[in-house]
Amino acid sequence: MSPVPLLSAENLARYHPLPRRHPFAARSFFMAVDGVSFTLQRGDFFGIVGESGCGKSTLARLLMLLEPATAGRVSFEGEDLFSLPARQLRLRRRHFQMVFQDPYGSLDPRLSVGRIVAEPLRLEVNGSSREERKERVAAVLEAVGLQASDARKYPHEFSGGQRQRIAIARALITRPSLIVADEPVSALDVSVQAQVLNLLLDLQEEHGLTHLLISHDLAVVEQVCNRIAVMYLGRFVETGSTEDIFREPAHPYSRLLLEALLGRDLTRRRRHRKTADPSATPSRGCAFRPRCPLAIERCAREAPRLKAIAPGRAAACHVL
């Protein structure tokens, strides 16, 4: 009997209407997220991998209810978040928090670190006194490897890696069960990336957190995630455990990504690769078809759905 998943998304979609060519033309849509479903269990470190434009950041914002979904549902601990009235939704927010990509843009330069980190405390059910807030801020700053006295300082006094720690501290302060991290280390130097990734792992162990990590960097995802979803143009094309996907990627796009990233054995020199121009996207059928070495006739007609190919693994491809 599997427990209620911590987070569950069903057919999440976000469409943007595109400007019509003329008033009587059919309306077409840009599908930033096109029918994504998955579940997150407590204790997971779930990674969503994809290149720019695949919709992973939009998906993160949909899950955090920072953007309205055009369709679908998000449930947290079994409760449908979209159906909640605004006040109740606000109160639920303390259970899931987000860390953003840009350490320079995610902290208000005009506020002190203490005020920045304390901001989510307003989500708490009971008010807290000034003293209590100060203590909580100090505790959470220390939990991320900074000092309590840093609360008085301002963001520009910190390096990129430290700012990201501040952002993580802010996400932690309401003691959430879930942290969604959108490219948390992409903007950081290599040597600092490791520090922040280690921190996320530590926090997961110490506080029983569940993480949802979004990244374009497969190496990062491989290092810390136990389950992965590969995203391409608004859809999940493959899901499964990290081990499975890395050992034997099923979907052609997953294979392409793995080759481009991890085929980078640092001791070997470059090999020639042939990849088609990614700027041509078909409107029918599988979005990956123009680049796919395995495409068959059916791929042009019908967009494949994500279906199980093995226990715990699913892929969206007609050929498998």
Partner: protein
């Protein structure tokens, strides 16, 4: 560009503005001579013969008139710009926070207001409530509203795109509080710079209004009216026109330079330190 040249505009502008402010404030407690005192014996006296800067066609001391005029000009400009800024920033930031049709309505209202130049509005208002300080303040103030609304909205929209706004929304903050806590502090610098520039414009406009007779009423001295009165005596006593004209030009120059200087100084700071 060395530090000196970078701050030069700021210093010079600041110095001029400060001097004028000082003069204006001083005039509240002391002037070389009562500015409204008529001394026919001294009429049209050139500078240094009667008082530092001479006397006008009624024998009034020009230096004193200029000082009180400074107070009038600057106080009207200041109040008008302040009112316009308050209303404009309010409208602009709310438009940016609410978006949608509310934003459209606000911006179109701003457009409509732009269509009426301050001078025209002043004349219309004067027709309703008569000329005077209030008329000038209202006319100039109203014209400032769309200026600030546009700038505030543009700047606010840029701030709304930042991730720290998303973080605030994650923390459950509503649009109003976000505007108050995050948007306003981050656009404040821009607004201050714009305000100094609008002040310069306001001084000029006030002078224009007084010149036309819809501004500060006599006998209260006003630069614009001094200019207007001096027209008849242009050939006899050019100092009657030159001096107030110079005062206006100096005020506008000083305020503009202050605004430019502030913008230059703020610019590199706005660029992020990496």
């Amino acid at each position: 560009m060395s530090a000196l040249t970078r701050y030069a505009t700021l210093f010079v502008g600041g110095a001029i503005t400060f001097t004028l402010l000082a003069m204006a404030l001083l005039s509240r407690v002391w002037t070389p001579a009562p500015p409204t005192q008529i001394r026919i014996s001294q009429r049209l006296a050139p500078p240094l013969e009667a008082g530092l800067l001479g006397a006008d066609h009624f024998g009034r001391d020009i230096a004193s008139m200029l000082m009180v005029g400074a107070w009038n000009s600057l106080s009207i400009a200041f109040v008008a710009v302040l009112l316009g800024m308050a209303a404009g920033v309010l409208l602009g930031t709310l438009a940016a926070a609410w978006r949608g049709w509310a934003e459209e309505v606000v911006m179109r209202l701003a457009d409509v207001t732009f269509a009426f130049p301050a001078v025209l509005s002043a004349i219309m208002i004067a027709a309703l409530i008569g000329p005077g300080v209030t008329t000038a303040v209202i006319a100039i103030g109203v014209f400032n509203i769309p200026v600030f609304a546009r700038i505030a909205r543009g700047a606010a929209l840029q701030v709304w795109k930042r991730d720290y706004i998303l973080a605030a929304r994650s923390a459950g903050k509503g649009a109003l509080l976000i505007t108050l806590h995050h948007v306003l502090p981050n656009i404040a610098g821009l607004l201050v710079v714009q305000a100094t520039i609008q002040l310069a414009l306001a001084v000029l406009t006030e002078a224009g209004l007084s010149f036309l007779g819809v501004g500060v009423p006599p006998p209260n001295p006003s630069w614009g009216r001094m200019l207007s009165d001096s027209q008849t005596y242009l050939s006899q006593a050019p100092h009657l026109a030159i001096l107030p004209g110079l005062a206006i030009a100096l005020a506008v120059l000083g305020l503009n330079m202050l605004g430019d200087g502030l913008r230059d100084v703020m610019d590199p700071k706005l660029r992020r330190k990496r």
